[in-house]
Amino acid sequence: MLYLIYVTYIVPAAILIPVLTGIKNYNFLTKPLKVILWFLVFQGFANVINLTMIAFHYYTTPLFHVYSIFEFLFISLFYSKFYSVKKQKSIYALIAVFTVLCIINYLFIQNKIEFNTYTRPLEAIIIIVYSMLFILKQNNEEQNWGDDAYNWINAGILIYFASCLFMFIFSNYLLGAGKLINRIVWGAHDTILLLQYILFAVGLYKCKTQRITSTY
């Protein structure tokens, strides 16, 4: 019971923490932080749709195929803001290629009741690379780590995608697993997601002390 309340209500509702923080500080938000706020709003809607589909006993797996496309879009847009126009164009091309791959995967490869275990881990790996490149770039900044809002956002993204990579890879196996295993894995996933929301909230709160990060 407690587990169900935690997974069904507490964690999805926790998205309101960063969203409300972001809305409160909206005037101070930089472009990358606005992308993150809109991503959170999108994620909130996706959560509501997911929970509604579960309530009406629909399979939610197709939702994940569509969700991955938008998730990758938002996060790529976030990281693209730190690079020069030339590099931004490469990221846009990557978004287009990934979207096509997701559509092909959904229509022709993983078109049954199954998760997108080919494209989601690929997405996670690309995002981990984005995140590592960002850390490399931030190492040159002459600022306290905690004062930079982007560091908190990046930490949230890296922790979530790296930790859940194994889960993304094996999610189809989990469909056939017992209740206990599913509860442990999804419980862990939701806890990491909660941590990501908290880190995002700190990032969106810290935007007032934000400095301009160089683009190169």
Binding site: Q143, W145, I159, A162, A188
Partner: protein, 264 residues
């Protein structure tokens, strides 16, 4: 292939836990590293600012000392002699005595000559005309000759950079002249040395000045010496012309400094 009995779900959970730990530690170390670097940079910058302040303080203090010295020279030499002259003129009562008149004329001339000489000495100290008209080599030579003649110190000057010194911009030659003047002053005042050597050479388009004396030398702590006003004055003058210097700490064996200055 042998069938494995591993439970894939346990492996997933272990994988997630392991990666989570790895990523969190990575972020933690990255934070620690970045903050440590930041602190180091801040310390370094602070040290640089402090050093600049010290140099500025030394420049201001030396300016004040110079003003005080000029004031004292004017007061003690020119001022006193001029007062004496005034008194002499006041005391003089014109009469028919030709001898007394001649004596008076002679005395006033002597006093005026002294004033002229004093003024010339003061202005020479302020801005040596030899340096302006005949270059650094002549100015150093002249200064060394004056000191040698005074018997306070025996200076051996070896100049292997005659041509290069002629091409030096006035700003550079003035700075180098002042530095050598300061070094010679230090030797006379503090070192108790009887001899000093000045070698001027050109190596790889750089003017190398080797200055050494046989006095008591520096204390072992070079940093302490660098904090002294005289050395800071020297350093700020050298910095201004992009020159570098190296102090050799060998206490008891005399003082030795190597200066490298770009010619152009």
């Amino acid at each position: 292939m042998q069938n494995t009995t591993d439970n894939i779900y346990v492996l997933v959970i272990l994988g997630m836990a392991g990666t989570f730990l790895l990523v969190v530690s990575f972020i933690f170390f990255s934070i620690r590293n970045q903050n440590k670097l930041l602190r180091q940079r801040q310390h370094f910058q602070q040290a640089q600012i402090d050093h600049q302040k010290e140099l500025l303080r030394a420049v201001i203090e030396s300016q004040e000392a110079e003003r005080k010295r000029i004031g004292q020279d004017l007061h003690d030499d020119v001022g006193t002699t001029a007062s004496g002259l005034r008194l002499l003129i006041e005391m003089f009562k014109p009469g028919d005595d030709v001898k007394a008149h001649e004596d008076f004329t002679q005395s006033t001339k002597t006093i005026i000559d002294k004033i002229v000489k004093d003024v010339r000495n003061i202005s020479h100290n302020l801005s040596p005309s030899t340096l302006r008209y005949y270059g650094l080599a002549a100015a150093i030579n002249e200064h060394c000759t004056i000191i040698n003649q005074s018997g306070k110190l025996e200076i051996a000057l070896v100049n292997n950079a005659e041509q290069a010194l002629e091409k030096l911009p006035l700003q550079t030659s003035t700075a180098l002249y002042r530095v050598l003047e300061e070094l010679l002053n230090n030797t006379i005042k503090h070192s108790g040395a009887s001899k000093a050597n000045i070698n001027l050479n050109i190596v790889n388009d750089m003017l190398h000045i080797d200055y050494a004396d046989n006095g008591k030398g520096l204390t072992a702590d070079v940093e302490l010496v660098k904090k002294g006003m005289g050395m800071q004055n020297i350093e700020s003058r050298l910095l201004n012309i992009n020159a570098t210097y190296l102090l050799e700490p060998y206490s008891g064996k005399g003082f030795h400094i190597k200066i490298e200055s770009p010619i152009v």
